[in-house]
Symmetry: C2
Subunit: 340 residues, 2 copies
């Protein structure tokens, strides 16, 4: 198949992640002959900038995927559940950014730096992991390969952009209201997020962990190794862009902090920023707009024999969503894994 | 000794914590016949509101403590190192809020709900623990008594007020600048704290943990049990008041989440706010101005045999500093432990 023939669809193109997908396809010169933008009927007709021109958004219907070989979905869970199987049946390979298919045993869940080999077994649907999982497993995998991780305790500091543009606006509006001595309005979040930390991301499951926390537990195991035990606390913080994570790792074999620094600095997609005495460590505001995952504050945990602590930061909209989806699509092309 | 005779000094009275100490002494009707405010020569003459009148700040000198039986210090480490021994030699009992004396083996380090018995061995200097330690150990102690804690992994979400009024102003000014498209000024913190998370509190120690992290490790062991292993990651977040903490606990004997809720709800100084499905959990903005330590998101950690996760929130200026200091002073009176 030559470049000329490849038609790529972006489903949910008008959302924050969908728009970022278009920007990243353009930036990375993704070898598509045509990029089509799909969305709900409400957004049909919207014009989105792409390369030197514009793409007119089409309504996503059952017939949309006949001429599309590869579709990047970021249209929400219910839309994915409806349209991904239709696209798949048409021979279109779907890379889905929602949580709808992630834990389906038939669906590979992929971070290209970690488990791109899982793509070989795809049945036309591939899932993109949750943002907070992606950056963590990318930092864990090289350590797992070296010393076999047995347990992870992670606490997250997640940006509001993970809840979409409305949440970005809500934080902004709340700050303005507070600075003008006005009452704060809460629509996206149940409580004020401005100058506060919310210990809830998603609904709660039966074991009193939140859905976001269980995503980190289950997705990490599916992507890396079913034997890894994970305990997660996921917290929303008043940051616009960039998720930060405090990750405590226990390994079978000892990995020194200096070894971990070397291993991680050689790992794909990772940048080690770790010289705390010179005030060099990862920051959410510096990770914004960047492709890499930043790791720092690497130190040996003195509370157990073989433990490491580290601080992992990434742009949750790019590597946490749009970029990882496009990288999966690139792997599909590289490996010749299209279906039509 | 009758109430009439008790002269109490507040050293560092013009700082954020010193002012809060005066308010709390007044609120709790602390049985002092006289409260004197001490500070550096720069602040001498300042008038501070107290009860129906005012207190004029006196310069703290070597002679200040002759007529004071009980002094609450929040004047910074170097001032504590200089004046606490002078006061102690005069027979004045010092309750010190700085880090200067905390790890001195001769100095009790006290959270009244946890280890007030340590006060009996005082030599006129008693240390108030670090804010992030106080709220954690108060929540850990009842669990330790029940099931013997072996290891704690904690990540903190600390408010800027822990760095003083200048840091509160800095966050406010940075937000204003950003909303007006102006450059951000960083004086208190090395990087922008507005809409960001800073993985540094205090300087760094030889093992690459920060001073704040090692305070949580060492103070927890001194206050509760030397055999408890602690790993801490302390993070500054853009919150004005109220420290939050994600605490993962491992115990020798199993404690169920429901048992933990009962144990903690019966513990002094603790309020359990834990019904996540009804969106009931502790929040920094709700803890502000309150005396209690709030615990919620209590759940059994499935990654180990005997593990619990919880979310612990308290007002870092009150329970984390001024209130705990006054509570220690109350215990000294109750137990008859003044020296003159």
């Amino acid at each position: 198949m030559s470049d000329r023939e490849l038609v790529v669809g972006v489903a949910g193109a008008t959302g924050a992640v969908g728009r970022e997908m278009l920007r990243i396809l353009e930036e990375r010169e993704f070898p598509a002959s045509q990029v089509r933008a799909l969305a709900s009927s409400r957004s049909a007709g919207t014009k989105l900038p792409f390369k030197d021109g514009e793409i007119v958004v089409e309504e996503m219907t059952e017939d949309s995927f006949q001429d599309i070989q590869l579709a990047l979905f970021s249209a929400g869970g219910s839309s994915s559940r409806e349209f991904a199987p239709i696209a798949a049946k048409e021979g279109c390979v779907v890379v889905d950014n929602s949580s709808a298919w992630r834990m389906d045993p038939e669906v590979p869940l992929v971070v290209p730096e970690v488990n791109s080999e899982a793509l070989y077994s795809h049945n036309n649907i591939i899932a993109n992991p949750n943002c907070s999982t992606i950056q963590m497993v990318a930092a864990l995998k090289p350590l797992h390969d070296k010393g076999t991780i047995t347990r992870v305790v992670v606490s997250t500091y997640q940006a509001v952009s993970g809840s979409g543009q409305k949440a970005v606006d809500e934080l902004q509006n709340q700050v303005r209201s507070l600075f003008n001595m006005q009452d704060v309005e809460c629509n996206v979040y149940p409580y004020q997020i401005a100058f506060n930390c919310l210990p809830q991301i998603g609904d709660f499951t039966e074991n009193d962990y939140s859905e976001e926390e269980m995503k980190m537990v289950n997705e990490t195991r599916k992507i890396m190794d079913e034997s890894i035990k994970v305990s997660a606390t996921t917290i929303r913080v008043p940051v616009f862009y960039g998720h930060s994570e405090a990750v405590n790792v226990e390994t079978k074999e000892k990995i020194s902090a200096s070894d971990a620094r070397v291993i991680l600095s050689e790992a794909p997609g990772i940048q080690v920023l770790d010289n705390p005495r010179e005030k060099i460590y990862p920051l959410a505001i510096q990770a914004t707009g960047e492709d890499d995952i930043y790791v720092g504050r690497i130190r040996e945990d003195t509370s157990i024999e073989n433990g490491l602590d580290m601080w992992v930061v990434a742009d949750n909209i790019r590597k946490g969503a749009a970029l990882n989806t496009v990288q999966i699509a690139e792997e599909i092309l590289d490996k010749g894994l299209l279906s039509k």
